[in-house]
Symmetry: C2
Subunit: 235 residues, 2 copies
Amino acid sequence: MSEVPESKLNSLSIDCVIFGFEDAQIKLLLIQRELDPHRGSWSLPGGFIKMEEGIHAASERILKEMTGVDNLYLEQLGAFGEVDRYPLKRVVTIAYYALIKPGNYTLNPGPDASEARWFPLEECPPLPFDHPDILQSAINTLQWKVQHQPIGFNLLPEKFTLLQLQELYEAILQVKLDKPNFRRKFTRLDLLEPLDEYQKAVSHRAARLYRFDEAKYKELTETGFSLRELRLMGG
Amino acid sequence: MSEVPESKLNSLSIDCVIFGFEDAQIKLLLIQRELDPHRGSWSLPGGFIKMEEGIHAASERILKEMTGVDNLYLEQLGAFGEVDRYPLKRVVTIAYYALIKPGNYTLNPGPDASEARWFPLEECPPLPFDHPDILQSAINTLQWKVQHQPIGFNLLPEKFTLLQLQELYEAILQVKLDKPNFRRKFTRLDLLEPLDEYQKAVSHRAARLYRFDEAKYKELTETGFSLRELRLMGG
């Protein structure tokens, strides 16, 4: 690797899969493209990496441009670089996924888009380029991760009910879970701290609120756990 | 993303972390660089991506150039792209890791290297660029993966003893494991198929050979498992 051949690859972009959880649904943040190619389509937000910024910094910048916030849960999915993924030119993209709480932010579509909007995952419009592959990879990663690390909490409010937690897992894993079994498994992890507070009752009995134990969260993020049996309980 | 800015990033490379398992040790395949920068250093094998090949194909090509073999276990680790990772130019690299069986191949250092050699991980020479970070990321991934997917078998001979399997896990996790506990955990996974064959005895009693059950291997690769307790048994 002495001489870098100048002409070989002419660009590198970032694309972000941004997940939220609202109304018991997983949602996806998309932008409407204002530029060619695929002008007018809804696509994953992204952009080119500047010469003077690292790739992770570029993904943080794009996310901050859209939400006004930094320090969000943001992880790299990997590079996507099939030869024909982008028309006319060779562009490799580095994909990231982020977990955020939809209600907390005022969206800003950024410089190359006319609009930014949350879509329920099931109502996702057709995506251009290889964005369907990138999205599928993000979904697979999220499904795997929530069964082995406690990252799902990045999608929940600070205080949540056990029902909300179960709905989150059901929405991510796309299965119905058995309530006593789910609660028993989670209890065994020692991750949940019960509070002396209750959800405001609407038409039913007020449910206890929980938050996650910070120390245990860190420990389990590092060591991982297994909730794979959850998937087998689907009904 | 209408116009791709031609001058922003001038190149993209591939780097491969190639692990093997031999003499109860994890080994790393390195090449000695024949070109600047860092001429003469031992580094991760790699190269530039050709215009007409996808990124995964590029990593397969590099691996095949070195070993003469394809269809090896090869996974992307992700992109590494700090601004100053490469001298003078901006080069982002996409890192892969591979698992191979050292004894099976005649090594070929490839066009830009004078030599290719297996190093025990503990005797790894100082690596140039951000290769130490890439290696650490590969080690972390391997340690995580062997505790949740049965990928370790890609490092073992087709038929192996339970001692070899334990030595593999000890080498990867860098801990001593409790033998009965380890065997019990593995037995529970139903992954091992005992054979009516025995290792050639040298100075001790001949040990039974095992192989992994193909169907179960596929199932566990998909669903994952948890062997995290293994790490807590270190002595």
